[in-house]
Symmetry: C2
Subunit: 343 residues, 2 copies
């Protein structure tokens, strides 16, 4: 597989998006977040998306040069409309609005409608953690993205709604949780199918409720993702759907949604409203040490804390480069060539 | 098993707590919440605790007649100290402070230290939902309550930290999520042991990391609860620990904590800061109908939404009475007799 310098990937993405008409700020925001996903090890939300977003711009799904509009607000809250700009840009701006509100009011909550797909949720709460705040975000599919069965039910009824939380620590990395309510995200079925592999038997159920280990039953058939932990993952997905969908007010998940994207619930909490930030960070650091000092289980070299693996991967890939699948790299080169971007 | 009228149980609890010196308000709050747990089907957090709390008062762990003190606050936030009063009273007052702040500032976040065990978390966010707000609460064991292994690690390192969320709907019940980050709570091991039953093999791991189905390995040995969904439940427990422990600032979980109880993170969000409450409730109602209309899986009669089972159980038990285990009832009668309370 080709190994690419992250700076080159950022430049290629930026130049491609600018050539299709994005503003320099939009192009930089989207490209940086895509490469950040690759660095964090979440390649399915990385530069593989460049050509997909170019197509979305071409067919008018992504509107260029839009501005996030605050439709309703208080000192601590805002309901904003992304007007179908780049989802990455809308989500970034929403988190910045939440942070500004938290700076003044200790807490900021922003809900977002008319927002295109935002990629990896984990990229946004980290912005708040960098500002010495707790950052939190959850989403639904803006009414669409049906992929997961409810607990006790069959079929693709819910999206694999996600939650991401980040808090600062006195270490080199923030604590960063980023999870989907599904046992495994749909992207993993595509990867398994491409590699000719089976998936664990608790990941998918078919239309009759029988487990299946064949990823094609999901990618080409009508098998559904399972919620992780059964009724618990289902309950989390249900609540994320309401916070992001009903409060935004994009709407909760439905059959035959006319649009797709991500409705968002975005929150920032200013930590020094509760205690001095240094005390907080030191306590998180102590807690990290305490948990990591436990005896490891068979098969584990180390106990990781949330966000540690992504941070380690990012350090390695920033230094050594990012491996890109051959077909993905060919696609990127093709798109770049089309827009006269040097690769 | 004896079947008791809920009103009688409430009166017995109230009178016992008053006789040991609780104020009428404290006695009523604790007793009502204990019986509410029985009604919801969570008997392990119900009237079985009466004699335990009487002992805790006797040995000074529960302080009577204390007042929740706000130690630091903004318009939207408060860090409060429960001064080791009844945990149920402290948690109720914390939620009311969050609600009052949300009434004025759209959002209220309250963190709580020096708080005794609060029982079932689900009892508190429902107070916010009744006020047309989103209610949310998570906890740790105030540094203690070690019962769960970290992902990739062995031993009792973390508590089975919990999350509860409630949102109003246009139905007879609010959506109410109430979950522990453990696959199953420790109370279920005690129930299984008392009944001479085995537990599923993913609930417990022993000190060497092997699964065990013997609940005695947990109740009398050093087996640990597992986090639900592996690294995901572990990640949730980790974040709940920071929000409740590091922000409160009771502290995160540690070895040999000098105290035990619950540190809390409590939040209320005023829904009409985002959209008219009737629109929100109607959308939640529509979402409930949509999810419940899916085809049921084999072995399920119905798809339930979060909070529906507890609500159904409460209606039945309120009407038909609450079954109390023989030994629990004998213990309650003994405690009542000691304090001249008629059963």
């Amino acid at each position: 597989m080709p190994i690419l310098n992250p700076d080159d990937l950022r430049r290629i993405g930026r130049e491609v998006f600018e050539r299709v008409g994005a503003t320099p700020k939009e192009a930089r925001t989207v490209s940086d977040l895509l490469v950040a996903s690759n660095l964090a090890g979440h390649d399915s939300h990385g530069v593989v998306r460049i050509s997909q977003y170019v197509s979305a711009v071409a067919r008018g799904q992504i509107q260029l040069g839009t501005t996030v509009e605050i439709e309703r607000e208080t000192d601590a809250t805002a309901a904003v409309n992304g007007h179908w700009g780049f989802g990455h840009v809308t989500a970034t701006e929403a988190m910045h609005i939440a942070i500004e509100k938290a700076r003044k009011s200790a807490v900021g909550i922003v809900t977002v409608q008319q927002c295109n797909h935002i990629g990896r949720l984990g990229g946004y709460p980290a912005i708040a953690a960098d500002e010495n705040m707790v950052g939190l975000m959850c989403n639904n599919g803006h009414g669409a993205d049906l992929s997961m069965a409810p607990w006790g039910g069959l079929g693709r009824v819910l999206p694999a709604n996600c939650l991401a939380v980040a808090v600062p620590s006195d270490r080199a990395f923030p604590i960063a949780l980023d999870l989907t309510a599904a046992t495994a995200a749909g992207g993993k079925m595509r990867v398994a199918l491409a590699r000719g592999e089976r998936v664990p038997k608790d990941w998918l159920i078919d239309a009759e409720g029988k487990p299946t280990t064949n990823p094609a039953d999901y990618v080409h058939g009508n098998a559904a993702l399972t919620p992780f932990g059964g009724h618990k993952g289902y309950g989390l997905a249900f609540v994320f759907d309401i916070l992001s969908g009903a409060l935004s007010p994009a709407g909760c998940t439905r059959e035959n949604s006319p649009v797709t994207g991500n409705a968002l619930f975005v929150q920032a909490i200013r930590i020094d409203a509760f205690l001095p930030i240094a005390d907080f960070k030191a306590e998180v650091g102590r807690f990290i040490d305490y948990v990591k000092s436990a005896k490891t289980a068979p098969g584990f070299d180390d106990i990781l804390v949330p966000g540690e693996r992504s941070w380690r991967t990012a350090r390695t890939r920033e230094a050594e480069g990012v491996s890109i699948e051959e077909t993905t790299w060919e696609q990127i080169c093709e798109t770049a060539k089309k827009f006269n971007v040097t690769v």
